[in-house]
Symmetry: C2
Subunit: 307 residues, 2 copies
């Protein structure tokens, strides 16, 4: 099943302790689309400016991503500039230029409107709902957000969240949204706002899934040489939703597998700047790393002579 | 097999967002001993002052802990005062009073010297070696330390570490000791200093085991209402070494089970102040939570129609 994603397509300037890149392809919808494209067809909704290079467009179409919902508007493409410290865990935003994103009104091509799987990447919650209203009968709606909207546009965000099946946010955001310091309680509070499940992204510490009946915790893949975490959360979401859409299965078991596929895609993303690693990826490498996650987490039941 | 532990026995004054306790029983050797006592006999080496209450001594002997190596010295017992913020992840030390610990020279009773399992809790690395030299033929030596010794007594610490089989430290300490930001590389560097295995404790994010052939990652147990993380690392070590000593097995499989038993004991420790929860614990509860860890981490292999 195809996945529809709305979010940003950006030009990123990034500095990490391992190097620097200027005006490289980035954005939440971009990372999501490329990661999800290994699992299922993707239809992208976003806006770019006149300065958006053909090579970027080509990179996306070569991954089979449908760009008919990618508007081209007069002006400059959205830009983000940030840097990471030694432990790569926290991004420091140095500058955000909304540019064409400032006037963005999403309009879905007719053939997008029957998509059953929808990912609302981190954008203004008003825009997230505008997209939802154009989708006829979504089977699964997943959504990301950030501290900026939780603090500054809470009512609108809550209206979006009410219509969402799975919310994917980081642990600080889960605490901020719920007002609870315990993630277990945060998940209870957030699930009472609408979502059937909460996925908490914890960067180098992995991810957790809080669903109706259980909690699942997955570590992040321990990388010898992480390079740039930009896009890891959206790559995670791409693997996660991509697997669910492809498997057409929303059971607890499928959700857990999807968390691992999400973690796999995030781990590859971090291995290079921009989409450098994701575009070189093979299905066999994805499966190999999935198996590595099994080995990373496996332990025996309590032995007979237990102590 | 009995485990020998050297470390601190302390009176702690602790404030967390969930309450406050003054001059309650604490200390690395205390938490370790009580946690390990659910798995195997424990022999404790430490020093207390004249003010150390009989009830504390009784609490330990009722858990079967051998106190013949607990010296009583003129003066006051070691005291620690600290507090935790909202997320409970980082302790802020407000005051440390070494008191009788300042002049402590460990001297092992004769019947301690044949112990084959030894845990050197976080104390001066000179003292850690003094203990080691009194043990005849240890089969497994595990060791904890902290930033204070890594920065201030590095040469002595490295001499201790050379004789250690398993080092248990937190992630910041692993990075500080190795000079590497990637934990995978930190583990390689640290294992080259002597230890066959490195256990990295990550608080609410769980623990990792880096051994010769593999990496294992376990989450922390998601608690609805954590209360006080004091002693969690030492309770972890108690469950970890306690299981290894009890199983008399140092295989990779046993080490992974031990990480889970350590995580179980740490999770219980956090549920109350001081040793409040640990002393009320039953073997059945420990096994039940071990099984909960299986459920928390389980996921399927890649399905046949994988995507």
């Amino acid at each position: 099943m195809a996945v529809l994603v709305v979010g940003s397509v950006a030009l990123d300037s990034v500095r990490t302790p391992f190097g620097e890149r200027r005006e490289v392809l980035g954005g939440s919808a971009t990372y999501f689309s490329v990661a999800a494209s290994f699992f299922t067809p993707v239809k992208l909704v976003a806006v770019v400016g006149e300065d958006f290079a053909d090579e970027h467009r080509r990179l996306l179409t070569e991954r089979g991503i449908d760009l008919s919902g990618l508007q081209a508007a007069p002006g400059r493409t959205f830009r983000w500039k940030g840097e990471y410290g030694y432990d790569l865990n926290v991004a420091r935003t140095l500058r955000t230029e909304l540019n064409v994103f400032a006037g963005f009104r999403p309009s879905l091509p007719e053939h997008y409107r029957d998509c059953e799987y929808v990912f609302l990447a981190n954008i203004d919650p008003d825009l997230q709902r505008e997209v939802l209203e154009q989708v006829r009968s979504p089977r699964l709606v997943a959504c990301d957000t950030m501290d900026f909207w939780i603090a500054g546009k809470r009512e609108s965000l809550l209206r979006t969240i009410r219509r969402v099946d799975i919310l994917l946010i980081n642990d600080a955001e889960a605490r901020q949204l719920s007002g609870e310091s315990s993630l277990v309680r945060a998940a209870q509070t957030i699930r009472a706002l609408g979502p059937k499940a909460l996925v908490v992204k914890r960067g180098e510490y992995g991810a957790m899934l809080f669903s109706e009946s259980s909690v699942f915790a997955a570590p992040a893949y321990p990388l010898e040489a992480p390079v740039d975490p930009t896009g890891a959360g959206d790559s995670f979401a791409g693997g996660f939703i991509g697997h669910l859409a492809s498997a057409r299965d929303l059971s607890e078991k499928a959700m857990r597998r999807a968390i691992i596929f999400g973690s796999v895609m995030a781990s590859f993303d971090v291995e290079d700047f921009s989409l450098g690693r994701l575009v070189r990826l093979s299905r066999e490498e994805i499966h190999e790393r999935y198996r590595a996650f099994s080995n990373l987490t496996q332990f025996e039941a309590i032995p007979e002579d237990a102590s």
